[in-house]
Each structure stands twice: as structure tokens, then as C-alpha cells.
Symmetry: C2
Subunit: 237 residues, 2 copies
Amino acid sequence: MHTWSGVDGSRSAFEDFGCSKPGIPPSRQPDALIAFEQIGTRLHFKRGQEIYAEGDVADSWYSVMSGTVRICKLLADGRRHIAEFCFAGDCFGLFTLAMRAVSAEAVGEVFVMCYPKHQADRLIDENPRLARDLYHRTVCELAKAQSRTTLLARLTATERVASFLIEVFNRGHAPHTLNLPMTRYDIADYLGLTLETVCRELSALKRDGVIASSGRRSTRIELGDRDALEGLCEAAR
Amino acid sequence: MHTWSGVDGSRSAFEDFGCSKPGIPPSRQPDALIAFEQIGTRLHFKRGQEIYAEGDVADSWYSVMSGTVRICKLLADGRRHIAEFCFAGDCFGLFTLAMRAVSAEAVGEVFVMCYPKHQADRLIDENPRLARDLYHRTVCELAKAQSRTTLLARLTATERVASFLIEVFNRGHAPHTLNLPMTRYDIADYLGLTLETVCRELSALKRDGVIASSGRRSTRIELGDRDALEGLCEAAR
DNA sequence: CGCCAGTTTGACCAAGATCAACGCAAGTGG
DNA sequence: CCACTTGCGTTGATCTTGGTCAAACTGGCG
């Protein structure tokens, strides 16, 4: 009760609907799950393909099955900002006005589930637990967006890159190893930097033994010294 | 119906509860209004006073009666970011997790209404229209936060200051005149700049006849050339 | 093999930050 | 009422961070 504008510790009803972090098994699946799965369509996108565009009618939402999706805002003169990366288990296109203000693109090979909004809304209207959960998720999203504004307004390049690495390490499964699916260009547009600056910061971290990279295109990152990495963005807590 | 994750054009139920833009009269006030007004307390704060602090339990929310409130995030080493300015008619402290991640402070003399969360939640639980409306407001807030991330990530100092002026002009009542209640320092912390840069950008706008300032402490801003101002941030649309 | 897309590094540049001085109006206390 | 202080705004000089431009490198792939 009274969970509209606060957070209880309870498990998210949405986790049962394909939005859970991988590895968290949907313990007991309520009836609504069947309905939700029935209304979903499995879609496939290739590297760089657009899932939806700025200006589109927002008539469906998505959850990532596998791969990574980037949420982009393009300025009139070509400057780009990436608002968010969505990994397996994340939802996107959900907390939105009637028209898309941003586009969604596949970073690499991606499989998503697509849920038509009008059907999803009916399920939500019928299920107060889902509705509360949706609200809770939106508030979490808002908190995340606000902490990103602080990062962009006040952190240095070093702190931004360090925060980014900690963020993706925390979201991944392995505590000390990580596959970066996106390019340096994507990371730069996410952090409000240039790809060269991102590169230099990563090189500095490698030089200092904080991280190590391997694999083709340096996509595989090994975390050498988590404390050092956290120390680099401790000001931001 | 089905307004959970989209926007209908209908008037906000919240507007009837002290959250309306000034000037929009609450046409017909439903019964719930009486209840909402009964649970509110009128509070007064002086310039610089803290309304709530980072780390506080979020057990109430607020609407601004008069004056301006700034929502602040303080970093460990003293850097500050202002996430938002709230003017008369705005709500704040509403879309939040259990604990405050930011603080709220009075920019000048401020009167606010304070609503205890547990009582407000009960009203919301009993009133589906209110609940939907709350959700809609949260989604709007999220959209605003996201467009602010783009501003901070990719716009130049000139563009940021121009966007800021347009934003406050659009929120004010008069189309060509405006009172800036906050200091240059506040504006800088909102835009991710320094106060000197804000000052220089404003001086440049004055020099070019886009705006004019008067009054004590240059708080009164006259808009000379709206097209020019909009042109300065057209890239951001 | 040669091309392509992405990464890395270096040299140089510029936007904006920092440091500093001064102006100006509103208190404040004698 | 006036000297003094305080807080904010403005402007200039200089510096630094991160951007821009350019070249070399790397591994994958047709």
C-alpha cells in the first residue's frame, strides 16, 4: 500500500515480465505473465539498425532479450547525445510521451520483445501491482536521469569515464571482466566527450594498471583495481 | 483509459490541487481538493534556507505558492549542480525514492504548501484520476530531465544560456519581460558553467541587443529579439 | 592482399575555467 | 548620517582541459 511515490523493497512485478536482470529467475509467475508473453513479438535487428525513430508514434515498448540498444538524441547540426544504453533484461520506450523524442538503435546484433502499448495498457489497468510497479520503475529512471545530469554538468573527463566503467561493471555479471559492446564513439556521446578523450582516459587507466584490455577491438576489459577506479569518482559518491 | 504510458490532452487533475500554472483557474474543483487542502501546511522559508536535505526521509512533498526553489546536488568536494528551479505553481519532492538524493533550498523569500506523503498517498490510492495524473507528471519530468542531459552533454555555453532564457521566458507570464530571482552562480550551477561564463554570455547578448537588463542587480531582463535568441539554440530544437 | 572500420597517439587549438581586480547597491553599526 | 562591510555582478588576463586535426596502427573480411 502507499507505494505510489516511495519505494518499498518488494520484488518488482515487472521482473516477471521479461524485464528482470538475467540470472534472477522469475520465481512464481502470475497469470498475467502468460498474457504479457502472448502480446509480445520477438524482433531482430542488425548492427546500427533503427528500432524506432525520433518523431514516431510511441505505440509500443520493448525489452532487450540479447544485445545492446542505444537511445539517441540527434541535434539539427549532427551532434549526437546517447541518453542511455539498454542491456539484456532492460526495458526501453516505456516511460514516454505520445511521440518519441529520441530514437533507439541496435549497437550490435539485437533481439528484443516488442509489446503493443494498447494491449499492455489494458493489462496494466487490470493489474494494480503492475501499475504500481510501472510507476516505481519510472521514478527509478528519473533518479538515474538526474544523476546523469550531475555527471554531465560537473564531473571531469576522468571521472566520467571511471563512472561509466563502474556503471557497466555493476550491471554486468562478472565482477572483474566485461565486454564493451559499444564503440568509443558511442561512449563519448554518452559521456558528453569526444572519442579521442575517451580513448586517452582509457589508455591512462591501462597505463596505471587500473584496467587492462584485450580481445579484438579492445572490447574485453579486465578490472585490475576496483578501489582505484572508485577512488577516481568518489567526489560524485 | 489507457493513459498509463501515454499522454492524453486532458487537463491535469493535479492542476486542481495547487499545482496549476498561475493564471489557469481551477474551473470545477472536485471533492478531493478539499481533502488535499486540508492535509497541506503552509510553510515559509527565507533566502538560502534549506527545505529538505540530501539523505532526509522523503515523507512529504511540496508545491510552490510564491518565490523560487532550487533543487541541488552537492558533490563531496563542494562542486554543486542545480537539477531544477521550481517557480510558483510547480511541485517538487514528489517523484522520489524513499530517501532524498538532492536537497531543496529557497532561492529568495518562499512560501510552499507541504503535504505529508502518507496522507497524500491515501488520496491517490482512492482516486484513479489522481494516480494517472501523477504518473503523467512523472513521465513529463523524465522527458525534461532527458532534454537537460542533452543540453549538458552537447550544447555550447552560448546555447545553454540562450536555452535557459527561453525556458524561463516561456514559463513566465509576460512574453518580453522577466525577473530572474536566482544569482549568476545559481544559473551557472544549473547550466554546468561558471558564473563568469554566464556573465560574459549575458553581456554578449546585451551587446548584441538580444536582451536588455535593468533593475537592481540586473535581475530584470527585457527580451529585445526573441528570434535571435531562438536562433542561438535552434540546433537543439 | 588491400580495404575498411574502429582505435590509438601526437601536435596544436580554443572554449571555457581560474584568478584577480574593481564596481555597485544594500545593509550595518557607530 | 556616514564609514565599513558584504554579496553579487562585471570585466580582463592567463591557464587548462578537453576538442580538433591528422597520421599511424590493428584486426577482420571480401
